[in-house]
Symmetry: C2
Subunit: 142 residues, 2 copies
C-alpha cells in the first residue's frame, strides 16, 4: 500500500563495488560495463560512482583507464556505502512539521519522541556497520 523504501541507489552501489572487485583483473571497468550488469542507464551508474569516489572508496579517471577499488572489501561496511549514496545527515523519520504549539501535546511531541527515534536510527546504522562488503562478495563467489 505504501512504499517507504531506501533508494535502490544503495543496492546498486553495493552491486558496483562487488563487480569492480570481481572483474577488475579480467576487464576494464567502465560505467557502461557496470550498467550492463546492473541493467540501468550508465548515467545512473556515474552519479553513484562519483559519490563513492568522493568518500575515497574507489578511484576513477577519465579515458580508458577504468575504475578500481581504493580500499579492501573488508574495510568497507554497508554503512559506509549507505552514507555515501544517501546522505543520512537527517533523520530516518519524517516528522510532521507544524504541530500546534498551543496544545500541550503538540508543543512537546517533538522533544518526547526525538530521543527515541534517534536511538532507533543509531541501532539501525550500527547494524549496517557490522556487515562488510567482503561478507557480501563471499556469498557471490560460492
Amino acid at each position: 500500500m505504501f512504499k517507504i523504501q531506501i533508494s535502490s541507489r544503495f543496492t546498486i552501489a553495493i552491486h558496483i563495488i562487488v563487480c569492480i572487485d570481481y572483474f577488475h583483473e579480467q576487464f576494464t571497468i567502465t560505467s557502461d560495463f557496470l550498467a550492463a550488469s546492473v541493467k540501468v542507464n550508465p548515467v545512473i551508474i556515474r552519479r553513484i560512482i562519483l559519490q563513492l569516489k568522493s568518500v575515497g572508496m574507489i578511484n576513477i579517471t577519465r579515458g580508458r583507464s577504468g575504475m578500481t577499488l581504493a580500499k579492501p572489501l573488508d574495510k568497507i561496511t554497508l554503512y559506509d556505502v549507505y552514507s555515501a549514496v544517501d546522505c543520512v545527515n537527517g533523520s530516518l523519520f519524517h516528522f510532521h512539521e507544524n504541530p500546534n504549539p498551543d496544545c500541550p501535546v503538540g508543543k512537546n511531541i517533538h522533544n518526547a519522541l526525538d530521543e527515541s527515534l534517534a536511538e532507533i536510527q543509531r541501532t539501525f546504522e550500527d547494524k549496517l556497520r557490522s556487515i562488510t562488503l567482503r561478507d557480501v562478495a563471499e556469498k557471490i563467489k560460492l
Copy 2:
C-alpha cells in the same frame, strides 16, 4: 540531497494516540480536534485512525461519541504503530529490479544480499518493539 524518510504518518499516528490518552477525560476527541493539534487536514487524520482502528488500537464510532483507546499505552509499541500505518509487508530496502542474469554478479547479488538486508530490518523492527507509547506519553507530561 536525498530524502529517504519514513512517512510522517508514523509520527502523526503516535501524536494521535498520545492525544487521545492525554485529553480523553477533558474533551470529546474527533478528527477535527486531532487535526488542530497535529495541524494537518482532518482527512489525513481519519485515514490514519482507520488504520489504527483496524488493528484494534482505538475505538471509533460515527456521530458525537468521540474516539477512545482500546489498549493501555504500555501494550502499544512503536512497532505496532509503525506496522499499522505503513504496511511493512515488504523490504525496507528497494532492490534494483533487473540485474543481468548473464553476469555472475548480477545473477547472485540478490541472494548474496537478501539475508543481510533482512537481518538489518529485523534489528530495526526489534528496536521499535522495545519502546512503548507509555514511554513517549510520560515524556509529554513532564
